[in-house]
Amino acid sequence: MHSNNHLPEPILWLQLIAICMIAIGLYLIAMVISNRRFRKSWSIWKVFSFGIGVVFIFSASIGPFAIKAHSDFYAHMTNHLLMGMFAPILIAFASPVTLVLRVLNVKTARRVTEWMKSWPMLLLTHPLFAAFISIGGLWILYTTNLYALMQQNVLLHIFVHVHVFIASYLFTISIISFDYLPHQWSFRFRSIVLLLALAAHGILSKYLYAHPPEGVSKIDAEKGSMLMYYGGDASEILLILIFCTQWYKSTKPRVSPGTHSFV
């Protein structure tokens, strides 16, 4: 965070490590409670996934790397890649909502699932809406003077970071979900939205190559743009692979070959 600029580096590291440990600790406690209640124990891979996701999120938003990103567009883009593209997939796999529902008592859990079926939650987890706020948000960030403004305003800076993660997370779970979700859209619809969102991301990356955001030099913009383009590809492949695996599992023929329809 901005106000931490004057803090010495060891303190920044300690701060980062402490926050990550608290988040992972809470997840582990929830896992232990859940394992006591349910016969099927919580997957250890989900714990790893959550841990790495949390490290990505916080190292991109607080601590030494985050501070470097204030002056360097390439470093900013690296953080953006970790926080906006890889962390959401990792956290989505960790299924935090399911874990929370397992820990809560039945009455509260039921109230939570009812609340999740309310229209604001349905809207937030709608693939089109989530794609719009995540990719649309990036277009606004890099093509207006918002990027320059957020470097000067601490609150705005925090807001942008939180928005990038939450919007990307909502988009990720609306496309690939391992977790409890109020409504799951058809594979066909989700594949169209995913395709358009990936295209919009690629187009923005290339656009930045020739049109640097305010306050970013041409060389920095070119480096950042290529990172956004190819780094984006890497996480996109991961997203598509998971999406297709889920389709492949769901369309498995059950009765006899040839009776199951597409989508």
Partner: protein, 166 residues
Amino acid sequence: MEKSSKHVKASLTNHSNYSSRNLWGGVLFGLGVVAFIDETVFHQLLHWHHFYDKSTTDIGLVSDGLFHAFSWFATIGSSFMLADLHRRQAFVIKRWIGGALLGGGTFQLYDGTIQHKLMQIHQIRYIVDITPYDVVWNITALGMIIAAYFLLKNTNIRSEEHHAFK
């Protein structure tokens, strides 16, 4: 014995049920593979193409972005579709290859005429006379489409039924 005839029968009905999935799975695969070769061979290895060309129009950027995203999706998605066809014993290799040639040829022709020439996203190579390159590029594309036409004609469901009841 009975089991194997049942198997053949199931396989035949599957061929007609999944004929279009064989075709479209092939189309997607061909499209994805040609786009992938374009990206790795011409952009990354030979460095003939450029990441961004100053003459690129906005519509060119949009077209390029859509096809780039689509190529990843098509390659991976069609591989899963292929696995699914195998799982259902409904894979018709000739129809699938026909689809692949159609998808690949169409994309290459689109890339070679509309994207390179009309939208000016980038050229095949940055040298004085690129006419021979353009000719080879587009003739290869046409050849693929023509080969696809014959393969698809041969594996049309109607002609397949004809063979089955002969």
